[in-house]
Symmetry: C2
Subunit: 237 residues, 2 copies
């Protein structure tokens, strides 16, 4: 096994990815939100790219069990039930419900690997479980940071680096990129919250008054859920 | 001023890049070779993408003052005067001569920013001079690692990180990506040769018997030359 990481989001969909498991990471905040929702009894999350798609898809689904969530510019969209703060996705709110989700970067990253055999949703909160799943699958892990509007996202690469650190302990070989992400994780591991507060995306969330999300998103090993993206839907399998 | 780095080579040419200075880095070995050639009295280096282009362009130029150099698979191409080892580009050989150069990654990286106003060629050997030039220009530096067949190249990102370290000392702000490359540089700075020997590209060169190139390419601050790429040609301006 050999683990790799994409530093910058790719344009267009991935190739089929035989023998690989793609691990999509959008720490701030889409994948952390998905993990939280499914951990709290949400039945499935359906990621869509546009706000229009979210509304039209939701119309075709049973209203009493369907919620629409997500953000534009970091804030809840008018008419949505939920924003993109994982703290909103409580058991009271999401248990037994399906969520149609659209966010600026995370749902696009998921769509870029739609159709690949193995796609897992990861964040700091479930990184340990994701690594266990990767080693069980015996497929080569490829970390896919969601980035920020097509650019490098420090928090996602650092989270990928945390999983590289765990994978290396399991004897998995690392590419140069994977080694680099592990070094970045090691540099920030003593204070992940400080990393989240000083990175470009974190600064933007702080300006929007969403600083509490940062501490929530950098907690490690708090969920054993390993959400799987298959046939357009993210579920616990 | 704000400095950024592209982690993965872009497909297709850059946008115009107004107010920016692009710094192309292919430590192993194209940009180190260009710096060495120009430091030793070579009049200009003309980067071309294919071997055929190299031969046909050279035919149109005065034979006695034109050399063809470069590699495929790391080795000199049949019929070329020089390979891609900077150690070949001695004063005896290149002084007063023009070199038509084609390499697997470096010349492609240069073509990706052809047409931009400011394009500089950098490696560890001239990093200090390049940083000085960037601060004089007062344009936002964008490091462009050549990568390896479209993938992440550790040695180029670490070299970019060295320049980020110097730029930060000059008061230049760093993007998240620039910060990350600086951290990677700091991790490897105590032993750049070890980094070069263990990275994927270095391993390949060692297999080809080109290990002496590694030590040559990671020397720092040995050339004050700042090659500039303009109108298809790299020269000292």
């Amino acid at each position: 096994m050999r683990a790799d990481i994409e530093f910058i989001p790719r344009q267009g969909p991935f190739r089929k990815g035989e023998g690989k498991v793609f691990v999509v990471i959008d720490v701030l905040r889409a994948t952390t939100t998905i993990i939280e929702a499914l951990s709290n009894g949400c039945t499935e999350v359906i990621p869509v790219v546009t706000v229009d798609e979210a509304f039209s898809l939701a119309k075709t689904l049973p209203g009493e069990e369907t919620l629409i969530g997500g953000e534009r510019g970091g804030l809840k969209v008018d008419g949505f039930d939920l924003g993109n703060s994982p703290r909103e996705y409580t058991r009271d709110f999401v248990s037994g419900k399906r969520v149609v989700l659209t966010t600026t970067n995370g749902t696009k990253a998921l769509q870029s690997v739609a159709g690949c055999e193995h796609v897992i949703v990861a964040g700091f909160t479930n990184a340990h479980g994701v690594v266990q799943r990767c080693t069980t699958l015996q497929a080569d892990p490829v970390m896919v940071p969601a980035g920020k509007k097509g650019r490098f996202s420090l928090e996602d690469v650092v989270c990928g680096g945390m999983m590289m650190d765990l994978l290396e302990r399991e004897g998995v070989a690392l590419t140069d990129g994977a080694r680099a992400s592990r070094i970045l994780y090691k540099a920030f591991a003593p204070n992940l919250l400080e990393m989240a507060r000083t990175c470009e995306h974190g600064q933007e969330l702080i300006r929007l008054g969403l600083d509490e999300d940062l501490a929530f998103c950098v907690r490690t090993n708090v969920s054993s859920c390993v959400p799987v993206f298959k046939k357009g839907s993210v579920r616990l399998d």
